[in-house]
C-alpha cells in the first residue's frame, strides 16, 4: 500500500476529482475524449495486474479478451440491434469464457512458460477473428452505427469502470484471496501445501480480470463506432498492458494507474506522429529493457528506493527463492 492507509478512500477521492472535469469543462471535447481513453487504459492495466502482478502470471495475451469484448458488443449492436449499453455485461462475460478456455490449459505451465504460451493466444484470437469474416467483417473491419452518446457520457462511463476496477483490485489485495495470490506467486507448491487451491484461484483471478477488460473493450468500440481485428486483437494492446505495469510497478496497487497515465500520452504521441510511428516498437522495447535493467520495480520501485513510499509489489530485482530440488 503506498498512498495512504485506505486505498478505497484514496481511490474514490481521486475519482471524485476526475468527476469534476466534465462539470467544470463540459464543452472541452478534447479533454473528455483523452480522459475517456485514459480510463480505458487504466482499466486494462489494473485488470492485467491482478493476474500478472498479484498472481505473478505474466500474460502476453490479454488482447484476446479485449478483442472478444469488442466484437461481442459490435455484433450485438450492429447485427442484432441491441442498445450498446446492454451489450457491455455480455462483452465482459464473453471475455470471461475466453479467459477460462485459455487459462485452464495454460496455467498448468508455471511462470515464464505460461507467459510464452499466452503470446500465441492473442495472435490466435486475431487470426480467428479475421477468418470469421462473415461475422466480424474480417480484414475490413466492422463499421458501427453512429448514434452514440456524447463525449461527456463516455468520460463518466469510463471513469466509473476504472474506479470500480480499481476498488475491486484494492479489495482483492486486502482480502485473503489476494494473500493467496501473493503466496502462490512466491511459491506455488508451498501455497498448495497450505490449502490454497492454486489452479482454481489462478483461473478465478484471470476470469475476473478478463471481465473488466472485456467491458472496457465494449465501451471503446462504441466510442469509436468501429471495430477491426488488428486494432482490438493487436499484439500492441497486450504489450501495452505489460508495459504499463512495468512502468508503474507490477504487483502494486497504484502502479498500473500511474503506468497508464504515463504510457497513454507516450503512446498517443508516438502513434500520431508519422515519423515516430515507424519506431514505436523501438520506443516501447527500449523502455522495457531499460526499466528491467535499471529499476525493475518501475516508478513505484524508484519512489520506494528514494524512501518516499513503502516497498511492495512483485520483486523483479530479487531472485525468486530457489530451493534445491
Amino acid at each position: 500500500m503506498t498512498f495512504g492507509r485506505n486505498p478505497y478512500l484514496t481511490g474514490i477521492l481521486v475519482a471524485g476529482v476526475c468527476a469534476m472535469v466534465p462539470i467544470l469543462r463540459p464543452d472541452d471535447l478534447t479533454i473528455l475524449g483523452v480522459g475517456f481513453l485514459t480510463f480505458i487504459f487504466v482499466t486494462q492495466a489494473v485488470s492485467w495486474n491482478l493476474v500478472g502482478g498479484f498472481a505473478g502470471q505474466v500474460s502476453f495475451g490479454f488482447a484476446a479478451f479485449f478483442g472478444t469484448g469488442a466484437y461481442v458488443t459490435a455484433i450485438l449492436w450492429s447485427h442484432a440491434g441491441w442498445d450498446p449499453i446492454l451489450t457491455l455485461p455480455f462483452a465482459g462475460l464473453a471475455a470471461m469464457v475466453v479467459a477460462l478456455l485459455v487459462g485452464l490449459p495454460c496455467f498448468r505451465l508455471s511462470g515464464p512458460y505460461f507467459s510464452i504460451a499466452t503470446i500465441g493466444v492473442g495472435e490466435a484470437a486475431r487470426v480467428i477473428a479475421i477468418n470469421l469474416d462473415n461475422i466480424t467483417g474480417g480484414a475490413s473491419g466492422l463499421v458501427l452505427p453512429f448514434n452514440v452518446p456524447e463525449k461527456a457520457w463516455f468520460y463518466r462511463a469510463g471513469l466509473i469502470l476504472a474506479t470500480i476496477t480499481f476498488l475491486v483490485a484494492a479489495w482483492i489485495r486486502r482480502h485473503r484471496f489476494g494473500l493467496a495470490l501473493f503466496s502462490l506467486r512466491m511459491d506455488q507448491s508451498a501455497a498448495e501445501s497450505l490449502g490454497v487451491p492454486t489452479a482454481l484461484f489462478k483461473n478465478l483471478v484471470h476470469v475476473v480480470a478478463a471481465f473488466f477488460v472485456g467491458v472496457s473493450a465494449g465501451l471503446y468500440v462504441v466510442y469509436l463506432s468501429y471495430a477491426h481485428p488488428d486494432q482490438v486483437f493487436g499484439f500492441d494492446l497486450s504489450i501495452g498492458m505489460v508495459l504499463m505495469n512495468v512502468i508503474g510497478g507490477i504487483g502494486t496497487l497504484w502502479g498500473p494507474v500511474l503506468g497508464a497515465l504515463i504510457y497513454f500520452p507516450i503512446r498517443q504521441l508516438v502513434l500520431s506522429d508519422p515519423r515516430l510511428v515507424a519506431v514505436n516498437l523501438l520506443v516501447f522495447g527500449a523502455l522495457l529493457i531499460l526499466i528491467i535493467l535499471f529499476e525493475p520495480g518501475g516508478l513505484l520501485g524508484l519512489l520506494a528506493r528514494a524512501g518516499i513510499v513503502a516497498r511492495s509489489g512483485l520483486r523483479l530485482a530479487q531472485p525468486a527463492e530457489k530451493r534445491p530440488e
Binding site: 494473500l179 511459491d187 498448495e192 497450505l194 490449502g195 492454486t198 527463492e321 530451493r323
Partner: protein
Amino acid sequence: MSETLLRIDHVSKRFGGLVAVNDVSLDIGRGEIVGLIGPNGAGKTTLFGCVVGLIRPTAGTITFEGQRVDGLSQHAVVRRGICHSHQIPAPFPFLDVRDNIRVGASFGRRRAEAALVVDRVLVRTGLEALATTPARNLSVGNLKLLELARALATGPELICLDEVGSGVTPVELDRILQLIRDLNAEGTTILYIEHNMRAIGAVCQRVIVLDFGQKIAEGTPAEIGADPRVIEAYLGAPIGAGG
C-alpha cells in the same frame, strides 16, 4: 492405540523402472506420534509424498478418517485434515511471519477464525516477537518453526513432519520436540520422518523402519533400536546411545 486415523494399504510407487515404495502397509492411530526412519533412498520421502498429495501411488490406497485420500491434490488433502512441513523450509520470502501463518490459517480447516488462529499459533511457537519480520530475514531455526507454525495454522488432525530436526541447534530441537509433545497432548496425531535418533527416541511412541522401499520393522523406539535388521540396515548403534 485408539481408532485408526490413517491407513496406508499396500501402497507402491514406481518411477519408471525404479520401485521407490514397495507394497508398504501401516496404520496410524488417532493421537499417536509415529516415527518413520530408514536410510536415504529407503522410500520415506516418497511414501510421505503419497500421504500429503504430492505423489500419486502406483498401487494401493491411503485412507484417512475412513475416506480415500490417495491421488488428491495437496490442497484437498489439507482440507481433509492432513498437513505437512517441508524438510527444506519454503517460506513466502516477502511476506512477514504473520502473513505467512495467515495463509495457512485462511485456507486450512479453520478458515473462519483465521485471525484468532494466527495469534494463537504465533504464541504457541514462540514467534510473536518476529511477527512483522519478513520471512527471508529469519534464521534457519526460526524458519523451521515458521514451517511448523504455518502447518499448524491449517488446523490439522494429522501433521506430517519432514526432518524438522535437521539443521537446528540442540536447544532449538528441544523446543520443537516440546511443541510436538504439547500438540500431541491436545490430540493431534503426528507422523515424523527423521534421521536424528535422539529426536525419534524422545517423542515417538512407535517407529516404522523402511529400507529399499519396504517396511522392515515396526515397534517402540527401544524395540527397533535393538532389532538386528534395523541396526544392520541403518543404525549402527542402539537408539539413544548417540545423537
